[in-house]
């Protein structure tokens, strides 16, 4: 069942600017939609508005054909997985999962069958009679999923579900969630601040910033064609370089980029992704900081191995820092080491006209 949010606005008492400001987006049926943004961007509030835990000041929510304004949280049939998991501490795993079914007065036999199926789904057969305090973080997370899924929700809402887990468990559970979704196709809205989580899990990404939607679309599109400087920097960790336009081009730092449509003298911001840079080692003129052709060189401040790729922290000739990711093999082939003078080439830069500071 698809969800439509139109013009959602929510002020909290005492807060000056709205926590959620005129938010409009769609979550397509049977897909995972991610609300991606830094903390304080209002994404969790949107999720609580959808669940009915908060009421919007303005705006409309529609689930399928139903206007949710007339439906209380108890009747919305949404499964909510909280960041803290919010498991009932005094209930066992089994009792936690049964809770939503007991509320619905489902016959006991059916309850037991459904709960058994859920426990199997999340592979907690051996732990069904434990209390939450006796489980690991990943196990608690799976109980939270099972409890939310047991009521066969029309919509699954996940609030930073992996944030409290350590890295290895996080990766495992992400894959588990992906498989689970492929089996069940419950329309899902995932809130996260982790762009790799958004890229890996979702078919549709809504980037939020300061209570507003910055951009919505498939992950690839959001990554490749950021609609705003914020998206460019938040999704992909781009380096910001500033300069001025001159005849449809702009000099930013030591690079010259195309700035189509920019008036002469206009401020230009160029966002350069770590992967969109080529670093090579030229034959240097030992006397100067230039290569043999007289082009100024950047300096490799630090090399960090991240496994398959290498992170290079560069200092550009004008002193600006830049982060670059390169395949480890390529770095080795060029023989690049810390302190080297290197030639930097931009494969691509996202250019925005106007002075943005984020």
């Amino acid at each position: 069942m698809s969800l439509h949010a139109v013009g959602l606005t929510k002020h909290f008492p005492g807060g000056g600017t709205p926590a959620v400001d005129n938010v409009t987006f769609d979550a397509p049926d049977g897909k995972i939609t991610t609300l991606l943004g830094p903390s304080g961007s209002g994404k969790s509030t949107v999720l609580r508005l959808i669940a009915g835990l908060e009421l919007p000041d303005r705006g409309m929510l529609r689930l399928g054909d139903v206007d949710l304004a007339s439906v209380a949280v108890q009747e919305r049939g949404v499964g909510f997985v909280f960041q803290s998991y919010a498991l009932f501490k005094h209930m066992t795993v089994r009792e936690n999962i049964t809770f939503g079914l007991a509320v619905r007065r489902m016959p006991r036999r059916e309850q037991a069958d459904r709960v058994a199926a859920m426990i199997e789904l999340v592979q907690l057969q051996d732990l069904a009679d434990r209390f939450p305090a006796q489980l690991s973080g990943g196990q608690r997370q799976r109980v939270a999923f099972a409890r939310a899924l047991a009521i066969e929700p029309r919509l699954l809402l996940l609030d930073e579900p992996f944030a409290a887990l350590d890295a290895r468990v996080r990766v495992e559970l992400r894959e588990w969630l992906r498989r689970l979704h492929d089996e069940r196709h419950v329309t899902t809205i995932l809130v996260t601040h982790d762009q790799s989580e958004a890229m890996e899990l979702s078919e549709h990404v809504v980037v939020m910033h300061e209570g507003r939607v910055e951009q919505a679309g498939p992950p690839r599109e959001v990554y490749e064609r950021p609609a705003s400087p914020f998206v460019a920097s938040f999704v992909g960790g781009a380096t910001l370089l500033k300069g001025r336009a001159q005849a449809g081009r702009a000099a930013v730092s030591t690079f010259n980029v195309a700035a189509p449509g920019a008036a002469d003298g206009a401020d230009v911001s160029a966002y350069v992704r770590p992967h969109d840079v080529r670093v090579t080692k030229p034959a240097t003129d030992p006397a100067t900081e230039n290569d043999t052709l007289g082009v100024k060189l950047a300096r490799v401040e630090r090399l960090t191995f991240l496994g398959g790729t290498v992170k290079l922290a560069l200092i550009l000739p004008d002193g600006a820092p830049m982060t670059v990711h390169m395949p480890a093999a390529e770095v080795a082939a060029h023989g690049i080491t810390e302190g080297d003078r290197v030639l930097v080439d931009l494969a691509e830069a996202k250019v925005f006209i106007g002075d943005y500071s984020i």
Binding site: A86, G100, R147
Partner: protein, 269 residues
């Protein structure tokens, strides 16, 4: 390390001398004339009625304050309204006010010379020198116990749990019954049992409002006092032994029970 073993010895001497020795003295005195005399002292109608009255009023007070105390704890934990600080302080007031003063306050409030007392008297309701006055005095004196037992537990239940229950379809009444109540029940029971134990021994607040009419409004601690005054050492100590045993075992039971309940639910924290 002699100094290290000296400190526990000093602690044991202090507690042993101040606490254990007198209690043992009561126990020995109770049986000084043999078990038959002990039983006879307890079986005397005045003693039996005093004990029955104390247990009945104590139980009633424990039940009422369990409910009222839970409500008060909930209000303190969940509402951020104006006057919450005042309410918080007022609840501790009975611990600060001397119990005798508590009794006196009630005499002034509902005694025959007061407006409220006269109004009630005109309607045939007598409070002072009846079991009702005993109950009110005990309610006052034990007011903070359940609140202080339940409040920390309530504050520890995060609001997410209530939200989670709501998304699973539970209305507030259901959430209270199935999520909140089970979590606080051990604390409520512990508070109620402590209330009961405290009520068993209350003297100052009761002695001036009860009227101390034998067989009717004379409680067990007042009975002990009367026996001491009249030199009936076996009678006084027999009742004392029963009261001490009862309230001590209640305190031990609640402590054990609470720990056993908590252990699997808070493991590893």
């Amino acid at each position: 390390m002699t100094r290290r073993s000296l400190l526990p010895l000093l602690a044991a001497t202090f507690l042993g001398g101040f606490v254990a020795l007198p209690v043992v003295a009561v126990l020995v005195t109770a049986f000084s004339d043999g078990p038959a005399a002990f039983m006879a002292a307890l079986a005397a109608p005045a003693a039996r009625n005093a004990f029955r009255l104390t247990v009945a009023t104590g139980a009633l007070v424990a039940v009422v304050n369990a409910v009222a105390g839970t409500l008060l704890a909930w209000v303190l934990a969940r509402s951020r309204c104006f006057g919450r600080g005042l309410l918080d302080a007022l609840i501790d007031l009975p611990f600060a006010i001397p119990t005798l003063v508590t009794g006196l306050m009630l005499v002034i409030l509902v005694g025959p010379q007061s407006d409220a007392g006269a109004w009630l008297e005109a309607r045939g309701v007598r409070v002072l020198f009846t079991w009702v006055a005993i109950v009110i005095a005990l309610l006052f004196v034990t007011l903070p116990i359940v609140v202080r037992a339940v409040l920390p537990v309530l504050e520890e239940i995060d609001l997410d749990q209530e939200d989670a229950a709501a998304t699973l379809g539970a209305w507030p009444a259901f959430t209270f019954r199935r999520v909140i109540l089970p979590a606080i029940l051990p604390a409520v029971l512990q508070g109620a049992l402590l209330t009961f134990a405290r009520a068993l021994g209350e003297f100052g607040a009761v002695v001036i409002v009860a009227g101390n009419i034998p067989h009717r409004t004379l409680t067990a601690p007042v009975h002990v006092f009367g026996a001491v005054e009249s030199g009936d050492l076996v009678g006084a100590s027999a009742m004392s032994v029963v009261l001490i045993a009862l309230s001590m075992s209640l305190m031990l039971i609640t402590d054990r029970y609470r720990r056993a309940w908590l252990a699997p639910r808070t493991e590893g924290r």
